[in-house]
Amino acid sequence: MLDFSEIIVHHLADRPLARLGANLHWTKHMTMSGLAFLLSAVVVVQGARSNGKLHTALEAFVTLIREEIVRPALGHDTDTFLPYFLTLFTFIFSMNLLGLVPFGASATGNISVTAALSLLTLLLINGAGIWRHGFFRHFKNLIPHGVPFWVVPLIFAIELMGYFTKCLALCIRLFANMTAGHLVILLFLGLILLFGQANPWTGLFIAPISVGLALGLYALELLVALIQAYVFTMLTAIFVGGALHPEH
């Protein structure tokens, strides 16, 4: 009997590749995020040095991120934080794309990777706020003006929790989006095996339909890879902008 959860775990979950220590393994997703690191570094540094089309494309990309994501959220602090957001987008997008390459895997489909990235977002939000306003002012900014004093503790607790939930949402959103696409493709292809188990001819008949649907979903995943990188970057920019300019 076919065990779907076995297949899903085999394809989507991380897998240790080498043992590094007692509880530490070199894993598939470490390899993939390492590849994403190399890919981003090589493409961007090479493009920045060259004078050709890649340079032009990267300039367009930098301008897009700066004008559409970072400047609306950060205003005059744009130049300070722009490299962080450009790298964030590039890194997530590379990891998303490498999951669509044959024999590749989406490191962003691993909750530890997205958790690490949103943890950095959480640190950046508070780091930027404290850097700009000082430790106490930063947390005082959580409370809107004109709130009656007796709700201040409540509001403070809710807003502080808001930081964590926002970052948790970032983490889950990216993880879920990347995993869901792979999951559905796996299920479409799994239909072939499922029907083939009952009758090989039915499996053969269902195969073109399954492959067609999986192909369509693959195209959609290309779009999702782009959109999720954009969304993660944009939301991080908005949260950091909120900490820097609480008056808005």
Partner: protein
């Protein structure tokens, strides 16, 4: 399935380290040159736009100046023309008056001469008539006297 949601701290630390390293490397060797290039181009564009704007204002100023100069020249020309017309009119009137005066003088002179001639002719005629009358009278008288005397004498 549980494995999908189990956090792996090694992977988390690995992700944080690679990402921060990427931020550092790209920040210095990737994004910085690109951002500098974009800003240089934007600065050039802004400067060119400002220069064009300045040139446009300058051209407008020169145009206004030229227009003002042209208007002044136009006014001056009008003035000169008016004065010339005035002077021409005055000259014309002067010349007309003089011509009329000349004509009148000539006419008067001619008239006086004619009058003089007439008077002379009248005097001449009168003396001629007188002379003729005397001559005729003498002739008649002589004839009559001669005939009478002769007849009487006869």
């Amino acid at each position: 399935m549980q494995q999908l949601f189990t956090p792996d701290f090694g992977l988390m630390i690995w992700t944080v380290v690679t990402f921060l390293l990427l931020v550092l490397i790209l920040g210095r060797y990737g994004w910085r040159p690109l951002i500098d290039a974009i800003e240089a181009r934007e600065r050039t564009l802004r400067e060119e736009r400002e220069a064009a704007e300045k040139a446009r204002l300058e051209a407008q100023r020169i145009e206004a100046e030229l227009k003002a100069g042209l208007a002044a020249i136009d006014a001056k020309a009008q003035q000169v023309m008016a004065r010339a017309a005035q002077e021409a009119e005055a000259l014309r009137q002067k010349h007309t008056a003089q011509a009329q005066a000349d004509a009148k003088r000539l006419l008067d002179k001619a008239r006086a001469e004619l009058e003089e001639e007439k008077r002379r002719l009248v005097v001449e005629l009168r003396s001629e008539v007188g002379r003729l009358a005397i001559a005729a009278t003498e002739k008649i008288v002589r004839k009559t006297v001669d005939e009478g005397v002769q007849k009487g004498a006869l």
